[in-house]
């Protein structure tokens, strides 16, 4: 078995109205329950907005600290889940369900990035 990181990318905009957000939260929760029931869930959760991030970097022996997310751009990781799957096809199937769960009704879909961890894990 392999581990995969499923990240969801969100635009740095105001959150959607609560009733829509609640539906997404509910759908993501259902998806998580399904993963857990299948024994595929390893770890995961939603993140605070990128404005809450702090970046550290060692430069010329000095530890530099800066405010804000590291990556430039208008989209950042909004949350992630680590899953256990036998191959990419299986991981992509969970990714499809994740993509459906995080998409607001009538809204544009959010990209889900599926990325493998190095090494193998026991099933």
């Amino acid at each position: 078995m392999k581990l995969y990181l499923l990240s969801v990318y969100q635009p740095d905009a105001d959150p959607p109205p609560p009733e829509l957000l609640n539906k997404v939260m509910r759908d993501v929760d259902l998806w998580t329950q399904e993963l857990k029931a299948a024994g595929a869930w390893v770890f995961g959760g939603g993140l605070h907005p990128p404005s809450t991030a702090t970046v550290l970097r060692l430069q010329d022996g000095k530890m530099l600290m800066t405010d804000g997310p590291f990556a430039e751009g208008k989209e950042h990781i909004g949350g992630f889940t680590i899953i256990k799957a036998r191959d990419l096809d299986s991981a992509l199937e969970w990714g499809r369900k994740f993509a459906r769960a995080v998409t607001l009704p009538g809204g544009p879909g959010l990209p889900i990035e599926v990325r493998p961890f190095q090494g193998e894990v026991e099933s």
């Binding site: 392999k2 799957a85 036998r86 191959d87 990419l88 096809d89 991981a91 992509l92 990325r115 493998p116 190095q118």
Partner: protein, 405 residues
Amino acid sequence: MTGAPAAEIERVFREEYGRAVAILIRLCGDIGLAEEAVQDAFTAAVERWPSTGLPPSPAGWIIATARNRAIDRFRREASREHRHAQAALLSVREPQAEEALVPDDRLLLIFTCCHPALAPGAQVALTLRLLGGLTTAEIARAFLVPEPTMAQRLVRAKGKIRDAGIPYRIPSEADLPERLQPVLAVVYLIFNEGYAASSGDRLVREDLCAEAIRLGRVLAQLIPDEPEVMGLLALMLLLESRRASRTSASGELVPLPDQDRGRWDLALIAEGQGIVRRCLRRNQPGPYQIQAAINAVHSDAPVTSATDWRQILQLYDQLVSLAPSPVVALNRAVAVAEVEGPDAALGLLDGLDLDGYRLFHAIRADLLRRLGRTAEAARAYEAAIARADNATERRFLERRLEGLS
């Protein structure tokens, strides 16, 4: 015992390379190792067969030799424990003579090479490399990219298959139609790159056409129940049947209406039309089958004026409803010009967003020419010439432009 000539060995290589690599990948689970082992086996064959002659089962010999090479390599590099385990596994899974002839390994491999998680360019390169046995240099030449670029593309794709865990298996029945799409697209892209080379000096690159048809035949043999697989094969055979007449002795492009139909390959036409008829009886139409049917209608006409354009237009109508795209609409307009006249066809081109496409301007130019609107036709030919990267096609368009005055 008589020795095997180099041409025989070359034939075995073309026919058996993909199958041998596919079987070795299943046995040892590693694409790079499988490729090396099969290449080693063919190197041994080139040394041996000229004096010993072909063995009774050349494919079986190659696979057995490659398998032994893979085991040797595992043992030599068996510094790590899992290498031992793999060698043990390989020794257990002794392929039987019959097993070597199970064709499905190639099918597993083509679905892996054409996995939608790989970029289309990588899908094409992997398919030609692993199933076609083309060298990196040959693939780079065919797609006019520098060899290091192609080598890097292949390394990256193989790395992704290994590290991301792209599986080596045939998709489930439910996923098959969707997963088949990129496979068919890759084979047709290889054919098209050979048939109407998008750039370079020569119009046709026969080697790519031959490789695509070979892959199409393998698919047709392995998945005969998918009508689109048969449709794609028929389409390629019918296009291939006209290859000899598409260029003149001096290497100039000859458009379909002006071709010497006596030079069409009747055997390919008969085979292609036979498949189209079987597809029609099945009545599960798809884009490849309809395009094949359109070409079958062209093949039916002994002279250009006998072409049944009404039937072709009906088929384009069906294609537009099944797989609408600006290019399909453009090709439909060509049929409309024949049935209803160039004026009606010209009106259909207005809304099409194909400004970057050379054939859009070439077809528009031709319609304008037929309507006597010479100045506009000249501008359209110039637009087509500016967008044509293939030297033969550009010369053809330039001659048309000169012919206006």
